[in-house]
Amino acid sequence: MFDDFKASLRGDAEEIASRLRTPSIRLFAGYCGVILLGSAVYGSTLGIWRAPLQSLYTAIKFPLLIFFTCAGNAAVNGMLAQLLGSGLTFKQTSLAILMSFAIAAIILAGFSPITFFIWYNAPPLGSTNEILGHSTMLLSHVAVIAFAGVMANQRLFGLLGKISGQKAIARTVLFSWLAGNLFLGAQLAWNLRPFIGSPALSVQFLRDDPLRGNFYEAVWRALQHLFL
């Protein structure tokens, strides 16, 4: 199993594709386990600046965000993979997407000591430089998550290219999955907020009435305030 993860990180598309040809419960459980552990560890460093309790809440919610996104889009991703000619079955599609999230989770877990160190040195909540602390934490996490996401998708692209045999099909399938996952993932992140926690608001597992409102309406209102 450990060799599978190393092969995934290395981007050894040949080896990963050979595993995917015979999808197993063991592989499925392995990827889920790594996502749970890696994203929980990283999630704890996401919330720790606000409060230790926020750290615990985010450690629980970050893996949930990933699993809900995968589960919510499982059917449509499987269908798109078949419609666009990738050659992947529903099971293989789910495993491939879980693999990419597992790669991201491993990278995030690797960065956890560094983000924890950044938190240790950031001006704390309640200090005169609290805005600097909050901004530094926010930007650091955005950079780390973006890096992990790019690497994971690069590996997924390589795998799709190997399985489909054509880069154009791999590109189309990847972008269609990305579009769906980002669209749903952004909304789920909105529903499951807060992750980092705002200094102005209390520490909560979920905001009051978490299903009210949506991410895209909030972005639209923010744009309106900015430009109008």
């Binding site: 990180l9 877990a109 160190f117 950031a122 704390p124 530094t136």
Partner: protein
């Protein structure tokens, strides 16, 4: 034909990937680090022994501690043991913080290796940097005895540390090359992260060069903000601007 000079024997490549001599002692390890670092990487990858990794780690800590005594000699007194203690602790913490990401970045760079190999190479890189710092110690000591300026000595120590780190990171880069990594960009990026963590660690554990009433600072600060404050305070003092 008879007057032609004999061909110059080719110098073995520093980073040739070959085993170390059978009877290896600490002296051989130091020689290999300086002259044939490729041999150290070969041993860590193909003939891993806990003793080798352990000695590399101890060598790195020892070198940093010895240099720490020179750092503390500027102010003297308690700094003669506080500076080496902080440098040794800071080095250990920096290694621990950055080791998981080094392993991940090695894998991302296409290297098929184990965590223990990567750990050993990181210890070797720090050991090499510390050997260079021991070499620079007399130079740093002479300057520390001829100035009272904390800012000047901090800048000098930082520069010498930077030179040592450059050679240490070159070893990390060689690991990528020798272990057939498909891309060395990831290891270069990791190098920047490691340097940033080390620079921040110096600020977290301040003061190392100067003196303070407390072992650790009470205020949290990022290293760029700390340097800016130090330089601004120095300029304010120099041109006599009232606070």
């Amino acid at each position: 034909m008879q007057n032609q000079p004999p061909p110059i024997p080719s110098k073995p490549d520093q980073f040739v990937f070959e085993p170390m001599p059978e009877r290896s002692s600490v002296v051989f390890v130091i020689e290999a680090l300086l002259k044939y670092p490729g041999r150290v990487i070969h041993e860590l990858q193909n003939n891993w022994r806990a003793a080798l990794a352990f000695w590399l780690f101890i060598l790195g800590l020892f070198g940093m501690t010895v240099y720490g005594v020179v750092v503390g000699s500027l102010t003297g007194g308690d700094q003669m043991w506080i500076a080496p203690a902080k440098i040794a602790i800071g080095t250990t913490l920096s290694i621990l913080i950055c080791l998981p990401s080094l392993y991940v970045f090695s894998c991302l760079g296409g290297i098929d290796t184990r965590l223990r190999t990567v750990s050993g190479v990181l210890f070797a890189a720090v050991a090499l940097a510390s050997l260079l710092l021991i070499g620079f110690a007399p130079v740093a000591w002479i300057f520390s005895q001829s100035t009272d300026s904390v800012a000047f000595m901090a800048a000098l120590h930082l520069g010498l540390w930077g030179i040592g780190m450059m050679f240490g990171l070159r070893l990390i880069d060689a690991m990528g090359r020798l272990l057939s990594g498909s891309s060395r960009t990831h290891l270069k990026l990791w190098g920047f992260i490691f340097v940033a963590v080390c620079l921040q660690m110096m600020t977290t554990l301040r003061p190392i060069v100067g003196r303070s009433d407390h072992f650790l600072p009470s205020e949290k600060e990022f290293f760029l903000a700390h340097w800016f404050e130090t330089i601004t305070a120095r300029e304010t003092k120099r041109i006599g601007v009232p606070n």
